[in-house]
Amino acid sequence: MKNKSTGSISALAIAAAGILPPAVATAEDYTKYGVVSDLPGTCNYAAIDAMDYSGETLNVITHAIPVIGEPTALHAEQFAELTGAEVNVVHVPFGDLFQRIMIPFQSGQNAYDVLFYASLWIGDFNRFLAPVPEAYTNSSGMSDVTDSFKGVATWNGQMIQYPMDGDRHYLKYRTDVFENPEMQAKFKDATGRDLTVPATWEEYNEVASVFSGFDWDDDGELNYGSAEVAKRDDLMFSAFISRAAPYAKHPDVGGGFFFDLETMEPMINTPGFVRGLELFVEAQKAFPPGGSSFGLGDEIFSFGGGQTLMSYSWDDAFIQAQQEDSRIRNAVGAAPLPGAKEVWNRETGQWDSFEEPNRAPYMTWGWSSAVSKESENQKMAFDFLCFFSNEANTFHDLQIGRFGVNPYRDSHFDSTFWQGLGWDADVADSYVTTLSEMEDSTNRVYDLRVPGVGQFMSSMANGVAEALAGQKSAQEALDGVAKEWSDIVDRIGADRLRDAYANVVRLEDNED
């Protein structure tokens, strides 16, 4: 699969030429590494090839194979071959990654030099990370990273994470169904309105339920409305944030989304969140069988495999659907997450109505990388990260759905590149537009990047799961979460949390 990139040379060249000085002719042939050609850049193959780290060892912890784990292993092997270093990689499932990194951190054990992890843990990890040296922040790759992903990597004004992936939640849907007159008529019959790409979560639920439980693609298997990540402890908290954000994030109200920054009072049980949860609960009836326990992988298989009409979360399901051997290639579209026409205003304590739905794009956490402060090989570690995300590697990785590497540089938001991979123009356009517009929003929601984020999110996921399972009502469940959050705040300390949370609010309130 590595050598699948075909006909994209021109796209690559164009993409690369946009930001970089013309390519210097490279003496060596690096195509054996699976890249089409070495591209100019600070840490390109030629540059790394010139380094000699023989006799030294680099320990890397990363996610399980294939998402992020596979490109890590791939580039680690290349790096080892180029520099003579020994690179050991350990792959850890998401649920266990935090503790695998945190235990050595806390006990002062120098276990890993390079870490790949979820960017929202920055609140917990920042004390243990080495800042990215200037040589790398000025590298060709880094200067191309979008502002919002640079922001995500920054803590108290210092870049301590090395961006290597871009992440956001957005809506994916089946264009073949939405554009099918027969289906449009069917929808009109059922609801009395025209079939459009959902602009609010109420609409999303409605469309999903109409197209659930019958075989609308004639493949002999039943189809369903919506695939969502709903399994507790498996990233489900992010799905909930996506759903609740437009109801709870008022464009005119700053000072915190999850907490009131001043008082550090949790706002998780305010009406906006409750409404989001109620709609989440309601959406379950349009899930495929077992949909209530879908993890991300199930969601990807379900939408990417053509079982469901719509889905929202990271890029993976979309890329999966667009793989060369996919049955629904070029039958999918991307759109911003649905919004809300009623938004809770916590300053006035009222619902405000919006003519045009309020959108609150969730700049959800994604994969990021960093170098441990304890590492004795920081230069080599940063060289590895720089190499990992060099121009040639990045373009290679973007093309492979299971790698989980998604656009995070300005050069990636180029429709022609994606068309070069065999995507139809309108599919590529909808993808690129959706992604880049999120960068421009001023009503973005970020993760709760504070110490103990794991506790907050697992508490929230537990509450949401209880509501989804029908054990509690939405309000009861979130009241319980709010109570636990207050306890956690007490335990960790409100001041300490506020300092950290201010970093997040600054991003949300566009103060940078």
């Binding site: 935090f98 917990d124 399994k231 495929p288 077992g290 794991g454």
Partner: protein
């Protein structure tokens, strides 16, 4: 003074003590600290963690759930294991093949097999629902409903550990003395009566041992739950050890999870001791 008898016991005792004592004492100490993701190390916060534990309904509910789950799984394992052992006890064609097959599941890694089972129970892509739909049962919410998830975990536990019961009980059956059976045959006792009056009482001691060991191991169930359901949906399959795991390593509340662990340990030791005594009294009729 060192006597020969110390040569036997001391190496193992000292080794185990050396390995286990520090962790145990350390855990006790940690349970009085607020060690968490931010505050590393051993401060002293008195009994706050223990006070919190008594308020923690999620912990107590998980304990209740565990008692239900272990009762059901261990009973099923015992009954099925006994039935299978009786069935292949006497020589029969193909008997040895069955014996080997029936032993295999306990040899497999729970974490690995749970991953496979999860694909089996996958509600739209797995074979469980596919096969059931052939006989018109359909789609069972294996992992997405509280009952379904509970049953799935029970099925996997029964699959994995019935062989354990089978092995112990079969080994017991093979070594039973012959005389009582002759006596029963002379009395003309029916097979059923022979079972209840001869086999079962003779098997009581080994049964108790097997049940207790299974209860001990079943109480630690974590890998299976973690892989198959992550304790969900809701908290429907959350067991104490998995809950402690969430608190300790997911949330990284090390201090609190130490308190939970110790409370759990004490409760388990008390409960298992009582169960052992009760089983002795009911099955053997003696109190020792």
């Amino acid at each position: 003074m060192l006597k020969p008898k110390h040569f036997f016991l001391l190496p193992a005792l000292l080794t185990l003590a050396a390995i286990i004592l520090f962790p145990l004492i350390f855990t006790v100490r940690v349970s009085f600290s607020s060690w968490d993701v931010y505050q590393t190390g051993l401060d002293f916060i008195g009994g706050r963690n223990y006070a919190r534990l008594f308020q923690d309904t999620r912990f107590w509910e998980s304990l209740l759930r565990l008692s239900g789950m272990s009762f059901i799984t261990v009973t099923l394992q015992y009954v099925l294991g006994f039935a299978l052992a009786l069935a292949v006890w006497k020589k029969m064609p193909g008997g040895r093949v069955f014996r080997v097959l029936f032993l295999v599941p306990m040899m497999t890694t729970p974490v690995v097999m749970s991953v496979i089972w999860r694909t089996v129970f996958h509600e739209s892509l797995g074979p469980a629902n596919d096969l059931l739909s052939m006989i018109g049962i359909g789609p069972v919410p294996w992992l997405s409903s509280a009952t379904g998830a509970f049953i799935s975990v029970v099925i996997v536990e029964v699959w994995q550990w019935t062989p354990f019961m089978f092995l112990l009980l079969l080994a017991g059956l093979v070594s039973l003395p012959r005389e009582p059976y002759l006596a029963a045959a002379i009395d003309g006792a029916s097979p059923t009566r022979t079972f209840w009056q001869v086999t079962f009482p003779l098997m009581a001691p080994i049964s108790i041992g097997a049940i207790i060991i299974r209860l001990i191991e079943a109480s630690k169930i974590m890998d299976t739950v973690n892989v198959m359901t992550s304790g969900g949906p809701g908290t429907a399959t959350e067991t104490p050890s998995y809950y402690i795991y969430i608190r300790g390593l997911r949330d990284f509340q090390v201090g609190y999870s130490a308190a939970l662990s110790l409370a759990y340990l004490v409760l388990m030791i008390i409960t298992l001791t009582i169960i052992a005594k009760l089983l002795m009294r009911f099955l053997v009729g003696k109190d020792d």
